[in-house]
């Protein structure tokens, strides 16, 4: 399956090998001793030392906890395996969506405006805290879909910044 973790894509496969499991990540194989140990618990043994990996999933993500360390993996669409294409896209275009539903405090830029990498675009309030969303690329604001005071859902595209061609 295709997972995305911190903006990197991983092709992850696992197959049983006797009592063990072969994990293949981006083509690289490793062997582990592991067993399911409860509804949401996989225990992995290495040199007789056991690590408990707690896992849950919903439609779009895996949530993992290992001794207090959390990992969230986005599930990628299975069809969308051409990494190069997407990477190019995301570095050419910055689609700004809110981290969670919230309300727009202030829009800091206008359509057509030139912005620097790291420039603040919009201030959003969610859970009683203000957060500024920044552009990850230098470019031109090509879309502004919200205005101050608006309530927005987390899949709403607030703004798009595109690199000048």
């Amino acid at each position: 399956m295709q997972l995305k973790y911190r903006n990197t894509h991983y092709d992850v496969r696992v197959e049983p090998d006797g009592e063990d499991y072969i994990l293949t990540v981006n083509g690289e194989k490793q062997k582990f001793t592991a067993k399911r140990n409860g509804t949401n618990l996989i225990s992995i043994s290495n040199d007789n030392v056991k690590t408990n990996v707690y896992v849950a999933e919903d439609d779009s993500r895996f949530y993992v906890n290992i001794d207090g360390d959390g990992f969230t993996f986005e599930k990628s669409r299975e069809e969308e395996t051409s990494y190069g294409e997407e990477a190019k896209m995301s570095s050419d275009k910055d689609i700004i969506k809110p981290p969670m539903p919230g309300s727009i405090v202030k829009v800091l830029v206008k359509k057509g405006q030139k912005v620097e990498e790291g420039e603040g675009l919009i201030i959003i309030e969610a859970m009683k805290m203000e957060t500024t969303l920044y552009s990850s690329i230098p470019g031109i604001v090509t879309e502004v879909n919200v205005s101050a005071g608006e309530q927005v859902d987390s899949d709403k595209v607030l703004l798009i910044v595109e690199k000048e061609k």
Binding site: V53, A56, D59, N65, D94, M129, S136
Partner: protein, 506 residues
């Protein structure tokens, strides 16, 4: 004693208060917004009354709806918890006017102490040491600029009605002052319904040490020792402990007696917290009084054996304090970690979602004050506190070890949490040494995820195995996960740059 109490709050503190009432054979009424109809506090209470749509202003801050709910259910008293209306003296007065008991101080001392500025003035007059700064809040930016220029930077903007770091901004340079004042005003308005902010000198690397006090309606006042709450992010406490590593018997007595002076000066009744900053030379400055039960009250309970929630109710019902100062003792060491739904690696951005899996930490000396359950939704509308994990140990190191273990055992899947981040704090040599200053996180904790090759592979393996088992066990799974994602779920990503925001990522 009251027969029925309405709890005007939500999440863990509402549950805490409801349990206290149940132990006292007092019936409880929960109130809830549309977003909370299946929340834990609603499950727990004897009755539950709907008070409005999800936004707090229309529900948990809706004074009339809450008072009406109390009247309709024939409640005799209202417990406000912390946050929301807890320190709103108008609400306090309205409750009284409606013929109900407000479980907290009288409106007059609450109003005085609720204004950071007015209380500063009163305390200066009484000889209590305070931090230099503006005498009152202002809407005139020039006044902020003038005071800041006189005292020199860095300065601190604070909401007069504030608490929990909301509406608070540190300003290091003149150029940042204006936007900081504006942002603080907006935040304060949204969080407390008041845009009054003021400015004071920013004391660098202090400790935040507060004293729990209790005062009955007959003039008896005691202090229940201190809590150190220096570990903060975004100016909000996340790890608290008692005793404070800096405390000595002499300092404790001096600060405790100052706390009592503050309480008597304000003519304050019921329980409250007197907050101080302690600088490197163990000078202490009065900050403010929190006229309510604190988030971190359990560490005091674990070390003194006094149930503060019950004590509030006893005092409000007109009883005398059941102890004198000399009856109170600190026993062992307690630490609390606030488990927030937030992403420590994205500037502590709040996280919302559904709790897909919850493993409550257990063991001797472990207390878990929770507002969630497996299957619960964490709404986006409120403070993202999920639970508080409190441990008791015979000494600080035992408590610290217990906390490390309990944090690791507290598995919460479905939202991001601050657990991993707090483990880093507790494992840091400076924490072990007790060098806990308010800039602890900024100074010591790298807000970056370590390279974690092995763990990442373990996480991949666990995810893949879990996914395969799910596929096998559930015929409905494929259908559910096979929904077409919107293009936005897969294309592109949003970014939040840290370190450039006024809060500076601490």
């Amino acid at each position: 004693m009251f027969k029925k109490i309405l709890v005007a709050n939500r999440s863990e503190i509402a549950c805490r208060i409801i349990r206290a009432c149940k132990e006292m054979d007092i019936k409880t009424v929960a109130v809830y917004s549309e977003a909370d109809s299946s929340a834990l506090h609603v499950q727990l209470a004897d009755e539950a009354v709907y008070i409005g749509p999800p936004p707090a202003l229309q529900s948990y801050l809706n004074m009339d709806a809450i008072i009406k709910a109390a009247k309709t259910t024939k409640s005799e008293a209202i417990h406000p918890g912390y946050g929301f209306l807890a320190e709103n003296h108008e609400f306090n007065q309205k409750v009284k006017d409606a013929g109900l008991i407000f479980i907290g101080p009288n409106p007059v001392p609450m109003k005085l102490l609720g204004s950071k500025v007015a209380s500063r003035v009163a305390m200066i007059k009484a000889g209590v040491p305070v931090i230099p700064g503006m005498k009152s809040s202002s809407k005139d930016f020039a006044e902020f600029e003038k005071t800041a220029n006189e005292m020199g930077y860095p300065v601190l903007i604070k909401a007069s009605a504030g608490g929990g770091g909301k509406g608070m901004r540190v300003v290091h340079k003149k150029e940042e002052l204006k936007s900081a004042v504006e942002a603080a005003m907006r935040e304060s308005l949204s969080a407390f319904g008041s845009d009054e902010v003021y400015l004071e000198k920013y004391i660098e690397s202090p400790r935040h040490v507060e004293f729990q006090v209790a005062a009955d309606n007959f003039g008896n006042v005691v202090y229940l020792f201190e809590r150190e709450c220096s570990i903060q992010r975004r100016h909000q406490k996340i790890i608290e402990e008692t005793p404070s590593p800096v405390m000595t018997p002499e300092l404790q007595k001096k600060m405790g007696e100052t706390a009592i002076k503050v309480i008597k000066t304000a003519n304050y009744n019921n329980i409250g917290t007197v907050e101080f900053l302690v600088d490197k030379n163990r000078n202490f400055y009065f900050l403010e009084v929190n006229a309510r039960i604190q988030v971190e009250h359990p560490v005091t309970e674990m070390t003194t054996g006094v149930d503060l929630a019950k004590l509030q109710i006893h005092i409000a019902s007109g009883e005398k304090l059941p102890f004198r100062q000399e009856d109170l003792r600190q026993n062992g060491h307690a630490i609390e970690c606030r488990i927030y739904a937030e992403d420590a690696y994205s500037n502590f951005m709040p996280s919302s979602g559904k709790i897909l899996y919850l493993k409550v930490p257990l063991g001797s000396g472990v207390r878990y004050d929770s507002g969630i359950y497996q299957g619960a939704e964490v709404p986006v509308f409120y403070d993202p506190v999920l639970a508080k994990l409190i441990v008791w140990g015979a000494d600080r190191e035992e408590a610290r070890k217990k906390m490390l273990l309990a944090l690791k055992e507290n598995v919460i899947l479905g939202v991001k949490t601050s657990i991993g981040f707090m483990l880093k704090c507790l494992e840091h040599p400076e924490f072990i040494r007790g060098n806990t200053f308010t800039n602890f996180i900024e100074k010591n904790i790298k807000i970056e995820k370590d390279a974690e090759g092995k763990l990442l592979n373990y996480a991949f393996l666990g995810s893949a195995m879990h996914h395969n088992d799910n596929k096998k066990n559930s015929k409905t799974f494929t259908a559910a996960s096979g929904e077409m994602p919107t293009p936005w779920q897969t294309i592109g990503s949003w970014e939040i740059c840290t370190g450039r925001q006024i809060g500076k990522g601490n």
